[in-house]
């Protein structure tokens, strides 16, 4: 086997070390009962093998540092290096969550001020930083919804309404919290069908989970009427804040009438995204729900930061205070840009998306007409009918052109969907080169469709067998 295709466990040789350490004289002092009975099952490699291993892995991967990454709904923006510098400061890295408030004033100040900033950005009264990702935040927020109605002894509210264009995490989180999920269809314009919503909302409605702008990249223009219907029925409005990058600094979920929101710091606030995390999914809410938030709040009293319990908290959804160093990076981003800078972010994100959408027409038709927000969804159904080349084939072919595939086959209501989100950090030239690659593939689909069906051909692993991967996944190394 080629060395660069081996797992690090396959490179392991017993006794090999990155660093040779003298045998500690203290080992004799450890009581026998506290010693390991067998060594930990870690790979044993020399430093050069270790460095090569991860360098090779990094070379095979495609991150935002490698090239354009227009993965819709994921906001794969550039992560500024200044964030990393801040997160590497020893005053933050050399801390322990149990070292006490007096020795953690700087870290507490970051938690306190970030929560305030995020509350201000999304128009909420209070924010918890504890959830580790967006879906985790949704889950925590839905626990709050449940507790809110339980405390009011309003036990008939068992249903959560979710649009058919929603992220899958919305119905999943609601189901995990024991709610019955009721889908509401989209209308011909791609927004919530108002008649259907009015018919569904009632005294059993706990909440509506809405992404605004929605996953089609369209602003829910009836948002005020939607809020009137749900609040009129006695339900709560939950905002999936995954698409905050489209509206940050322009309008706020709290002002639209939402009662709860989650944010994704690894999307909108530029912390590293992908590769499994760590992420951060703070939850914000209006005052009447604040005591239910997960985790402790940080307060500033008498010139000192301290933790304070929330009276009716649903409990901890994660240990300690969330992914602190991720929060710190987001705070660095907010301070770097300031209010005006954050508004420019969303303006440029929307401008970039609209520019790319226009460049791709007429070959690639958007699924809905009009201007988009920070992303747009193409339907490649016509191309597939005419050439047999699917959305997946175009996506895989983009890999050979140095571009990460857009999100495929989502949202579910668009056939042969490709969901494209360029983000604000891409230049005009990058967008133009990407558009040229898309158009070249469109022409190739007619002249030489087989070329697309085989793609990618320039990657170490070519077209992966997705069917076998889904059916017979090998999830652990068995040596």
């Amino acid at each position: 086997m080629r060395e660069d295709n081996m797992l690090i466990f396959e490179k392991s040789v017993a006794g090999r070390r990155c660093v040779t350490m003298p045998k500690s004289p203290l080992i004799a002092d450890i009581p026998d009962g506290l010693k390991r009975s067998s060594p930990p099952g870690l790979p044993e490699v020399a430093q050069i093998d270790l460095v090569r291993h991860y360098t090779q892995l990094a070379r095979k991967a495609h991150g935002v540092d490698n090239g354009f990454y227009p993965l819709g709904s994921c906001t794969m923006k550039y992560s500024p290096r200044l964030n990393e510098d801040c997160a590497a400061l020893p005053g933050f890295t050399q801390t322990h969550p149990l070292q006490g408030e007096d020795a953690s004033q700087g870290s507490l100040a970051v938690l306190h001020d970030l929560a305030l900033s995020l509350a201000d950005i999304c128009g909420m009264d209070e924010v918890t930083l504890q959830p580790a990702a967006g879906a985790h935040g949704e889950f925590g927020a839905l626990l709050m919804v449940k507790e809110y109605f339980r405390r009011k002894n309003d036990l008939k509210r068992t249903k959560v309404i979710v649009p058919d264009s929603a992220h899958g995490t919305n119905p999943a989180g609601a189901a995990m919290c024991g709610f019955q999920v009721v889908p509401v269809p989209s209308d011909a314009g791609g927004c919530v069908d108002m008649e259907a919503l009015a018919a569904i909302a009632g005294e059993d409605t706990a909440a509506l989970m809405l992404t605004n702008p929605n996953t089609l990249g369209l602003f829910e223009k009836n948002i005020q009427e939607i809020v009137r219907i749900i609040h009129g029925a006695g339900g709560l409005m939950y905002c999936d804040g995954a698409n905050l990058n489209a509206i940050m600094g322009r309008c706020r979920p709290g002002d639209m009438g939402f009662d709860l929101v989650h944010l994704n710091l690894h999307k909108t606030f530029s912390t590293p995204h992908g590769g499994g995390g760590p992420g951060s999914g703070p939850v914000g809410c209006k005052a009447q729900l604040a005591e239910f938030l997960p985790g402790d709040r940080v307060v500033f009293e008498n010139g000192r930061y301290a933790f304070a319990k929330r009276a009716d908290s649903v409990g901890n959804v994660k240990n300690f205070y969330g992914n602190f160093l991720v929060c710190l990076r987001a705070y660095a981003y907010i301070l770097t840009l300031g209010g005006d800078g954050l508004r420019e972010v969303s303006e440029n994100a929307v401008l970039n998306a609209n520019y790319l959408m226009k460049l791709l027409a007429p070959e690639y038709a958007p699924s809905f007409e009009g201007t988009c927000m920070h992303e747009f969804v193409l339907s490649l159904e016509e191309l597939k009918k005419q050439t047999g080349v699917s959305a997946a084939d175009v996506a895989k072919s983009l890999i050979d052109r140095g571009i990460h595939p857009p999100t495929m086959y989502f949202p579910l209501i668009v056939r042969e969907a490709l969901m494209v989100e360029p983000t604000e950090t891409e230049s005009k030239e990058t967008l133009e080169r990407a558009a040229a690659a898309f158009k070249e593939l469109h022409a190739l689909a007619f002249s030489k469709p087989d070329a697309l069906l085989e793609a990618p051909v320039l990657t170490p692993i070519r077209r992966a067998d997705e069917l076998a991967a889904a059916k017979n996944p090998l999830l652990k190394f068995e040596g």
């Binding site: 086959y409 579910l412 997705e466 069917l467 889904a470 059916k471």
Partner: protein, 126 residues
């Protein structure tokens, strides 16, 4: 697109075949399997389960998405097709042989679509 004349259909792309004796087989249409692409997993409700029309028979997972399968009619599940659960690709290769469940006490088939009406429906969608 294959739409056999001897079956009835739903707007959500299930087919139902009324058997001699009144029981019925339910599956998903050729159009549905093509939209889903390669089916990877099938999970079905248990035998003995009473379903009302639009109740959930189970779900079908493809490499693109997971889709709920709805019962076209009221009825009780008397048999589930273990063969399809073991080899979900049967849904792609022969969607009208790969029935998912057999129902007894079938009621409500009057409101279903004929082959012609279903063909018009998918003609509009396609």
């Amino acid at each position: 697109m294959n739409v056999p004349d001897n079956l009835l259909y739903t707007k959500s792309h299930e087919w139902i075949k009324i058997l001699e004796g009144g029981n019925a087989l339910v599956g998903i249409t050729d159009y549905a399997q093509e939209q889903l692409s390669d089916v990877v997993f099938v999970s079905l409700c248990g035998e003995g389960e009473k379903l009302s029309a639009n109740g959930t028979i189970g779900d079908v997972e493809s490499i693109k998405a997971v889709s709920e399968i709805k019962s076209p009619v009221d009825g009780t599940v008397v048999r589930v097709n273990q063969g399809v659960m073991d080899d979900p690709a049967l849904i792609n290769s022969a969607p009208y042989d790969a029935w998912l469940v057999e129902l007894s006490g079938v009621k409500g088939e009057d409101s279903l679509l004929s082959a012609k009406a279903y063909e018009e429906l998918i003609g509009d969608e396609a």
